[in-house]
């Protein structure tokens, strides 16, 4: 392993240890629920950032894979009762396969077309979930709970163990994605984002690079869906609804696209905001919409990007040079 990879692994281990110790310090079940939801949405948002931040592909249908993960996992567990790790693996494969088909059509398209055609595919899946009542439960969602047979001595019916399991999936998922973006493939992806023509001339297969990113992002998003379906013990059509994608795009923008952990920060902020708004205000959409407008039109970049640039500007000001103007909305 190279040194940065070792550092990432050490950081991931440290992060997991902190999460594992957390329930020993406080017994607040609200905190535990919060971390599980953070794990689900954080993986989902970080996987979207593979496309948005690193690939320059603004997908507006990423919720498809979140819903796909939740439903595939739920249905597999309800119908076959296979061990959980196998079901998770199968779910990842199914989502990757769906992503391959959708991506094969979509990734050739330019920006706004890409955004809306991915959205159209998501709405297609959403309408199929609603229509295919015998399998998916229609608009009632997948009910009756998801069976959780114990495996390797882990019993996910226990909220504490589910918490540890989610935290582990989150850390492993993030580590894997971190590894992907720092691999040669990750740099090829950035190059395709910055200048697809040049990347093509240098022998990079642009189409295949984008498609690979799309498939990987779809698989990791479904992992978020798996956690969510375990958390709510079911799957609901809202998971595949367009607002889910809208939320993910907002999370990515909220946290910032230029830092790997930006989407995770964004997830935390959005969940806190959501909880706060639903507790205090009656009109959730109105408040949330206003906050989004404020961010999008006022700050014009993610929070973590903003902080990082501010820090960088302060550091250079000490060296008596003018502050550098960072390129907006791109990852380095």
């Amino acid at each position: 392993m190279t040194r940065p990879a070792l550092r990432d692994a050490a950081l991931a281990l440290a992060g997991f240890l902190v999460l594992a110790i957390l329930p020993l310090i406080t017994s607040s079940s609200a905190l535990i629920d919060f971390v599980i939801r953070c794990a689900a949405l954080g993986l989902f948002a970080t996987s979207l950032n593979l496309l948005v931040g690193y690939g320059g592909m603004v997908s507006f249908g990423h919720g498809l894979f979140f819903g796909m993960g939740a439903y595939s996992f739920g249905i597999l567990m309800q119908r076959t009762g296979m061990p959980i790790p196998l079901a998770v693996l199968l779910t990842l494969c199914i989502s990757a396969l769906v992503a391959l088909v959708v991506g094969a059509i979509c990734v050739r398209l330019k920006e706004i077309y890409f955004a809306f055609v991915t959205l159209a595919f998501q709405m297609l899946v959403h309408s199929m979930i609603i229509a295919w009542v015998p399998v998916t439960g229609g608009d009632q969602g997948l009910r009756g709970g998801i069976p959780r047979p114990a495996f390797l001595g882990i019993n996910l019916s226990d909220q504490k163990q589910l918490y540890l399991f989610s935290a582990a999936l989150l850390v492993l998922g993030l580590l894997a994605m971190r590894h992907i973006v720092s691999s040669p493939f990750g740099y090829a992806l950035r190059m395709v984002r910055d200048n697809a023509t040049r990347a093509g001339f240098l022998g990079i297969n642009v189409y295949r690079t984008r498609l690979t990113a799309f498939v990987l992002a779809g698989a990791f998003a479904s992992l978020g869906g798996v956690i969510m379906s375990l958390f709510v013990s079911g799957a609901y059509p809202e998971f595949a609804f367009w607002t889910m994608s809208g939320e993910a795009v907002f999370i990515v923008m909220l946290g910032g696209t230029a830092n790997f952990l930006g989407p995770l920060v964004g997830t935390g902020i959005l969940l806190l905001l959501n909880d706060f708004v639903t507790r205090t205000a009656e009109h959730h959409g109105l408040v949330l919409g206003s906050v989004i407008l404020l961010f999008a039109l006022g700050l014009r970049k993610g929070l973590l990007d903003f902080v990082m640039e501010w820090l960088a500007a302060r550091r250079t000001r000490d060296a008596a040079t003018p502050a550098p103007v960072a390129v907006k909305g791109t990852s380095t």
Partner: protein, 300 residues
């Protein structure tokens, strides 16, 4: 799947006429929304993701004006003009800031506007389903055309929308403003250099799009139930229409809208569960065969 129902219908003229007219009214409403979407995209290069919200506002305004005045003509006028005014405010305050911005920002601002407008409608008109009811002028016995039942309002709706399509097409092709719009779609910087106030032109075009969406809402109000989320489903379908027809093309929007309308009407007979899937399939086919859409010229 119920292919027998479909073949039975295709072989009977009465069913054919009934389904075709219902397909046409779906198509005409879609056209009025999609044409705004396509014009705004053609010139300002943004997909107004909040366009469906204007359709919704138009429908609710029509219902309110109709209940206050009992005149459907005034209701239509109120829906179109009211939506247009709201559109101008939104364009001036929000849209202008995202022209030329990155796609992420455009999507976010529109997403926020959809959330806000849906919630505002929920506050003003309540979250439950509402119905406007058929205006008295159209409460007459249905017409029978080749054995098919056709409510007169359907004919009025189709005629009104086709009239708008004709006027719009002529205006874009023949008038000076139409020429300016076509030029701006091609190269807005050059148009602005020639002394034309493009900021004003953009606002006017956005307002026109909103007016058409509001009119569609007003026309839909008697035949659709009104809910705060009604704008989104029509937005997705209008987007499919513009993809099939080609972004920026009015003719494409018309053809695509009628195609989708007919697919919906006849698909509901043959594939009741997969009607929506048929639309997406149609879109995917067009994208694979001709990515610029049926009537799209340049690469989008």
């Amino acid at each position: 799947m119920d292919l027998n129902a479909l073949t039975d219908c295709l072989s009977s003229s009465s069913c054919l006429v009934t389904q075709a007219t219902s397909g046409f009214i779906i198509g005409m409403l879609l056209f009025l929304v999609a044409v705004g979407l396509t014009l705004i995209f053609g010139v300002m290069k943004i997909v107004n993701f909040s366009h469906g919200a204007f359709y919704m506002i138009g429908a609710y305004l029509a219902m309110t004006v109709f209940q206050a005045t009992q005149s459907y003509a005034l209701a239509l006028l109120g829906a179109a003009v009211g939506t247009c005014l709201i559109g101008i405010v939104i364009e001036r305050f929000f849209m202008q800031r995202i022209y030329g911005g990155n796609v992420l920002m455009q999507l976010l601002v529109c997403y926020a506007l959809v959330l806000i407008l849906d919630d505002l409608v929920r506050i003003v008109w309540g979250p439950e389903f509402r119905a406007m009811g058929m205006p008295p002028a159209f409460q007459v016995p249905p017409l029978f055309i080749m054995g098919g039942v056709v409510p007169p309002f359907y004919l009025f709706l189709i005629a009104a929308a086709l009239l708008m399509a004709g006027v719009l097409g002529l205006a874009i092709a023949k008038t000076r403003i139409g020429k300016t719009i076509r030029a701006a779609a091609h190269n807005p910087a050059m148009v602005s250099v020639l002394g034309i106030n493009t900021g004003l032109l953009f606002t006017a075009l956005f307002a026109l799009g909103c007016l058409l969406a509001g009119l569609a809402g007003g026309l839909a109000a008697p035949v659709r139930s009104l809910t705060p989320g009604m704008g989104f489903s029509i937005l997705i379908e209008s987007f499919i229409v513009t993809v099939i027809g080609g972004m920026g093309s009015i003719m494409g929007a018309l053809v695509g809208a009628i195609l989708i309308g007919l697919i919906r009407a006849f698909g509901a007979l043959g594939f009741p569960l997969f009607t929506e899937a048929l639309m997406y399939l149609c879109m995917a086919l067009v994208l694979i065969v001709k990515p610029t859409g049926l009537f799209g010229r340049e690469a989008a």
